[in-house]
């Protein structure tokens, strides 16, 4: 069993708890145990916090990392925003003495110290890693193949970019998530401008909703053109933007979309035989039924 401290973030546990439940249960079947990271907070949101004061962003993210250091476990997480905060701050603090000293001065006020003793991973990255899991192991865990469905992959920006500060090698046309989707029996579809942003990040969703939805609408148009039955992503904030965004686009622009949006862990859960109830798919703004009808 590979063990990780499971960093939850905000949107997964507090808006799409199915993602949290699915991550724990699906990972177990792949030999990955996600342990509770007690007392973690918001990562904190890189857009909202980094934008006002980068120093407080470093310090707050460091506190979350220290909690995992105290468990002596690497962190696994299921949100790209969290990945940016937790992974990037961890890497920067490891390699920048001045920055680390500054952060540790603040952490000392609460009797904590950042040591740089653990690593941070996105769960999707762990799934793709053949040394820990890999697509073949995922394929073996499938009991209900998603045969006959077409799924569009949205990687999300902060998983891969800036590419220089990531373990990944390609942020222009990566295909490893498509491999993870194909392992479930679904057909991954390619679409125009695949790597475009969902539109939500950087505080833009809160600052100018119409602007952010206009970006989302462009993505939905391209995804729809490719004939996708569903969108899959690995970021609850992208999920919120695509899922609730379709309703908001209807209200604001009068354009109707009905494309189900599923976190990869929800998709994996379905393929491993979990029921829609076990994934709380009823909390999604866009009805997942048309997609479920194809596989159940």
């Amino acid at each position: 069993m590979h063990q990780y401290a499971f960093f939850l973030g905000c949107i997964a546990p507090n808006r799409y708890p199915g993602c949290e439940a699915a991550a724990i249960k699906t990972s177990e079947k792949l030999g990955i145990e996600l342990l509770p990271l007690k007392g973690a907070s918001c990562c904190p949101a890189p857009g909202a916090f980094g934008a006002v004061d980068l120093n407080v962003w470093y310090a707050m993210a460091a506190r979350n990392i220290v909690l995992a250091e105290q468990m002596n476990k690497d962190i696994a997480l299921i949100c790209n925003g969290c990945y940016k905060s937790i992974y990037e701050v961890n890497e920067r603090l490891k390699h920048d003495d001045e920055l680390r000293d500054g952060v540790n001065e603040v952490l000392a006020e609460i009797d904590m110290e950042y040591k740089g003793s653990i690593d941070v991973y996105h769960l999707a990255e762990i799934y793709a890693d053949k040394k820990v899991c890999g697509p073949d192991k995922i394929r073996e865990s499938v009991v209900r193949p998603l045969d006959g469905t077409k799924v569009a992959v949205h990687y999300g920006c902060h998983l891969l970019k800036p590419i220089k500060e990531r373990r990944f090698t390609d942020a222009e046309n990566p295909m490893w998530m498509e491999e993870l989707v194909a392992a479930l029996g679904a057909e991954p579809v390619q679409y125009r401008n695949k790597m475009e942003c969902c539109g939500a990040g950087g505080g833009v969703r809160g600052f100018d909703l119409a602007h952010s939805l206009d970006i989302t609408n462009e993505k939905l148009t391209n995804i729809n053109e490719a004939g996708a039955d569903a969108i899959t992503e690995v970021c609850p904030f992208c999920q919120l933007q695509f899922d609730r965004g379709q309703i908001e686009i209807g209200e604001k622009f009068g354009i109707e979309w009905h494309i189900p949006v599923l976190h990869y862990n929800e998709l994996l859960g379905l393929a491993q035989g979990m029921s829609p109830q076990e994934l709380a798919l009823d909390l999604h703004a866009i009805d997942c039924k048309p997609f479920l009808d194809k596989i159940l």
């Binding site: 939850l8 907070s41 904590m112 920006c157 950087g202 505080g203």
Partner: protein
């Protein structure tokens, strides 16, 4: 002879387009470079960043222009432009910049500097208040608690929600930077 156009009407038309050094604060570039940990002074204005930007086609936001403003020290022009808040931080420009500049981080640095002038959209401040209060930018609610219980999860996740004893530590970190204080003050002063 002074450089200019011989036609007086044309001269007048272009007069205010000239760059005035009095508008420039050279410290601005230094501040931006320090905070962004990047090198906007290397920009040769190719426009690859704007060409990669999802916000550019649907607004007047031009990332290339902001990088130029950094180089020219046009502090006020940059920090008071509301387009500053239209960057989704997608980092496409950063991946593609041929001069290895991180335009995204230039924007983040400028936002940090704007915050020092109390220029910041309200949604950012509300997130700060929520995190101070609950540890989460998006906190739990009753509908979600019920859904969590149905899933076999506990009503509160294993975060500050279940362990509020961690909140004083978080507040201490935020107080170190006077974040809550500033957010409360700006919000109580009205629209920003």
């Amino acid at each position: 002879m002074v450089k200019g156009y011989s036609d007086p009407a044309m001269e007048e038309k272009f007069q205010d387009r000239y760059f005035h050094t009095t508008d420039s604060n050279p410290e601005f570039l230094k501040d931006v470079e320090k905070l962004s940990r990047s090198i906007p002074h290397m920009c040769f204005q190719c426009g690859t960043c704007t060409g990669s930007c999802p916000s550019a086609p649907r607004s007047s936001y031009r990332i290339r222009k902001f990088v130029r403003r950094a180089v020219l020290g046009l502090e006020k022009e940059a920090l008071t432009d509301p387009d500053l808040w239209l960057c989704t931080t997608c980092y496409s420009c950063t991946d593609r910049c041929p001069r290895d500049i991180a335009p995204t981080d230039v924007i983040m640095a400028m936002r940090n500097l704007a915050f020092k002038w109390d220029i910041v959209p309200r949604n950012f401040l509300k997130t700060i208040q929520l995190i101070y209060k609950t540890g989460h930018g998006v906190p739990n609610n009753d509908v979600n608690r019920a859904a969590r219980l149905k899933l076999g999860l506990e009503a509160e996740p294993e975060t500050t929600h279940k362990y509020p004893e961690y909140l004083p530590g978080i507040r201490k970190i935020m107080d170190h930077y006077h974040m809550k204080e500033i957010a409360d003050r700006i919000l109580s002063e009205g629209e920003h």
